[in-house]
């Protein structure tokens, strides 16, 4: 279970009890129905065969918006079964690793009953919701190969898939023969596979089963990632490079808008916000690309958009963190606090949605798209400079700013200064991510890693500040309304105390993260980057 790392192409598909981990399901391409009948005839001549009948099943494939299951070599498939749902965690070859029957399809990994699969899925998907990404109707003709005791030793399935819910609905897209290994009968499985390959002359399917289904259903696996991946050539003009980066950020804003509006999971808002902040940060740090008035205008507009999303995100973080304190409070008091935070989130979300429905937002997107979507040379004074020159200069300056401020931190440093250091770190991080492709990737990753440690602490410190303010505001609001029990205010007081204590602890740990980042190793790696 320790191998479950997001981003790896292993691990999740290893969960559970495969039929036989050494033998994946073998799939063969069949061209026509005729060839399927021919194969059945050939098998009957060679093996003891039992026809198990035909099954039609409606399969829905799920993944998170950012393909966390697929990235971890897995798929989640549900099929209605006698009034409930059979949910299967499969590896990319389509071999079932874990099955469970549920009354409804879970929306999040946390909705699953406690089991090994839930533990693994929670680690990988975190806060992300399972989204239905492909629906197919599978017509399967099932055949069993028996031994002399009439015991099933291998199962075969002639599958035909039809995509549901699109313009080509009902059209059969794939015909293939699957051979499923059964635990303890590896030799028999190998004999069947050998026969199909060498004597029947069938060709094995290329690529994975899950990928094939997704592509057939019109999906494009891995078409979204929260990471910024831009490949820049060092010699290209700054305006061209900037547009490449900014177009990708605008794509991220647009990709997350739907999920944000539908409130599918908190990560849509998070990724939307990050893309907006990165855009604003780029405009603020790489000045002189566009005409001055345009830069100023869009910086202001993206600042407005960022501000619009802020309160809801803060409440999302607050709701998540307060869950960690549940055990420490009387149940009714805790529920009241959570209810209150949810109400406030609802209000702030309405405000956010109203903002997204304004002409201002539509105009911002349209005008911004018009500006960065063209190939024309920009009029800014630095537009024609090579991007590598700008990148080196900006990274060096940003690092120097962080370095100076970080070294100046003391026990008595006020929260505002720590907040400014957090912002400086964020700016440096964004620059490193924007221009990663211009640097030595290993060095860049090493600096980002070390910076991330510092950022995590600073972020936590800031979140704890925001949460204390939010609890105080909550107390004031409840106090203004009569009828709240005194015990609730006492609970809130205790919560603030805990948040303060935790914040102090985080502050005391900051020194270690700072020395890690300002140390020689990071400085040298950074100098290498900007040289």
């Amino acid at each position: 279970m320790g191998r479950l790392e997001q981003g790896g192409r292993r691990a999740l598909g290893d969960v559970g009890n495969s039929q036989d981990s050494a033998c994946p399901v073998a799939s063969f391409v069949l061209e026509t129905i005729m060839s399927a009948q021919d194969i059945k005839r050939q098998l009957t001549g060679k093996f003891r065969i039992q026809r198990l009948g035909r099954v039609v099943s409606e399969l829905t494939y799920y993944d998170t918006f950012d393909w966390r299951l697929y990235r971890n070599a897995a798929g989640l498939v549900s099929a209605p079964s006698e009034g409930s749902y059979l949910l299967s965690l499969v590896d990319l070859e389509g071999t079932t690793r874990y099955r469970m029957t549920l009354n409804s399809v879970p929306q999040f990994a946390r909705d699953l009953p406690l089991c090994q699969a839930r533990e693994a899925l929670e680690k990988v998907t975190e806060l992300r919701r399972f989204l239905p990404i492909a629906r197919i109707e599978r017509h399967s003709e099932r055949i069993a190969v028996l031994d002399r005791r009439e015991k099933i030793v291998t199962r075969l399935s002639l599958d035909r898939d039809a995509v549901l819910g699109d313009s080509t609905a009902g059209r059969l897209k794939h015909l293939r023969l699957k051979v499923e290994p059964l635990t303890g009968y590896r030799k028999e499985y190998a004999a069947i596979v050998r026969f199909l390959e060498h004597e029947a002359g069938l060709v094995r399917c290329c690529g994975s089963e899950v990928e094939r289904v997704l592509v057939t259903a019109g999906c494009c696996p891995l078409d979204y990632t929260g990471k910024l991946i831009v490949r820049l050539e060092p010699g290209i003009r700054t305006d061209t490079a900037s547009k490449q980066i900014l177009v990708q950020l605008l794509n991220a804003v647009e990709a997350n808008e739907r999920g944000l509006r539908d409130d599918l999971d908190p990560e849509f808002l998070h990724d939307f916000r990050v893309a907006v902040r990165r855009t604003r940060s780029y405009l603020g740090q790489v000045k002189g690309v566009f005409a001055d008035d345009l830069e100023r205008h869009f910086r202001g507009e993206f600042a407005w958009l960022g501000k619009l999303t802020g309160p809801t995100r803060d409440l999302d973080v607050h709701l998540l963190s307060i869950a960690g304190y549940e055990a420490e409070f009387p149940k009714t008091d805790f529920e009241l606090m959570v209810r209150h935070l949810r109400r406030r989130r609802l209000v702030s979300r309405r405000r956010l949605l109203r903002g997204l429905d304004t002409r201002r937002y539509l105009k911002l997107k349209a005008h911004w798209n018009a500006l960065i979507g063209t190939d024309v040379d920009e009029r800014g004074p630095k537009a024609g400079l090579p991007i590598s020159e700008i990148a080196e200069d900006r990274i060096a300056r940003a690092y120097s700013r962080v370095y100076k401020r970080a070294l100046g931190l003391r026990k008595e440093t006020p929260s505002e200064t720590i907040h400014r250091l957090r912002i400086d770190c964020k700016r440096l991080r964004y620059l490193l991510e924007f221009f990663r492709s211009l640097c030595d990737v290993q060095q860049a990753n090493s600096v980002i890693r070390s910076l991330k440690g510092l950022q995590d602490r600073l972020g936590l410190y800031n979140d704890l500040s925001v949460q204390q303010v939010a609890v105080r505001e909550m107390a004031e609001e409840l106090f203004a309304r009569s009828g709240t029990e005194a015990s609730v205010f006492l609970s809130m007081g205790r919560l603030i105390e805990r948040l303060e204590a935790r914040q102090k602890l985080v502050k005391s740990q900051l020194e270690k993260s700072i020395s890690g980042f300002t140390g020689e190793k990071t400085a040298e790696a950074l100098l290498e980057l900007v040289r």
Binding site: Q19, M100, R149, T183
Partner: protein
């Protein structure tokens, strides 16, 4: 992983039928299930059409650390249901366990399967021996089929006394098996279930020729009889046991 052992000191009370049918129903509910046939008669193995042979036999079941149960597990004909077959050498398990002087060894073997299965059913041989004690030690629940007769009631009391004396911490659930309502004694004992030393499940398995058909058809009852009284009773029995084990949470 929950370990359930179908056990009774008496023979011919429906232990194997319970292990096979409950195992089948657990797998049909979506649980990854393993039936371990510890009875040298190998009736459960026969019902699943597997060969009653384990390489190394009972010697290896408790012996060398390199031996893995997983190598000897066989898929049954049913999705999600595996079998660790029986071996005739299991008749010496008691002697082997005496040599090993360590019931924990069997426990370690069983618990090594925890990542792979949700339910493990141990189909035990009728006896009260070192093997039975090892089973009491490692099981979460003893499922005890009981024919409603005077001698069966006496046997249950013997078992209760033994568990108490040896301080085994195992939950015991009993149910009436092979119930024939035409018999007055059966009816009387079933009506006074509270006199028995263990909690008695509500579901009773009727005496039915369908259950006997399992060995002729070599398949769990539910695969060839969906609506018969015995089949319905096993469904009820499983939902009662699953409800107790999962606290009623649908899985």
């Amino acid at each position: 992983m929950k370990v359930l052992a179908t056990y009774n000191l008496k023979g011919g009370v429906g232990k194997t039928a319970a292990a096979v049918n409950l195992g089948y129903l657990a797998a049909r509910s979506g649980f990854r299930t393993l039936v371990c046939d510890l009875d040298p008669q190998g009736a459960a193995t026969y019902c699943f059409r597997a060969k009653a042979k384990v390489k190394g036999g009972g010697n290896q079941l408790l012996g060398g650390d390199k031996w893995s149960w997983q190598k000897h597990i066989r898929a049954t004909d049913y999705d999600g249901l595996d079998l660790l077959p029986s071996d005739f050498s299991y008749r010496h398990l008691d002697i082997l366990l005496g040599k090993a002087k360590d019931a924990r060894r069997l426990n370690r073997r069983v618990r090594s399967l925890a990542d792979h299965y949700d339910y493990l059913f141990l189909d035990c041989a009728p006896s009260i021996s070192l093997v039975s004690e090892a089973v009491f030690f490692l099981s979460d629940v003893l499922v005890v089929p009981t024919i409603p007769t005077t001698l069966s009631r006496r046997t249950l009391k013997q078992l209760a006394k033994h568990l108490r004396t040896r301080a085994f911490d195992v939950q015991v659930l009993t149910f009436f098996s092979m119930v024939d309502n035409r018999k007055l004694l059966h009816r009387e004992i079933c009506e006074h279930a509270e006199d028995l030393p263990f909690p008695v499940l509500r579901t009773m398995i009727p005496c039915s020729s369908e259950v006997e058909q399992m060995s002729a058809k070599r398949a769990p009852l539910l695969t060839f009889s969906q609506t018969g009284a015995a089949a319905r009773a096993y469904v009820g029995l499983w939902s009662e046991i699953a409800g107790l084990l999962t606290g009623g949470v649908p899985f």
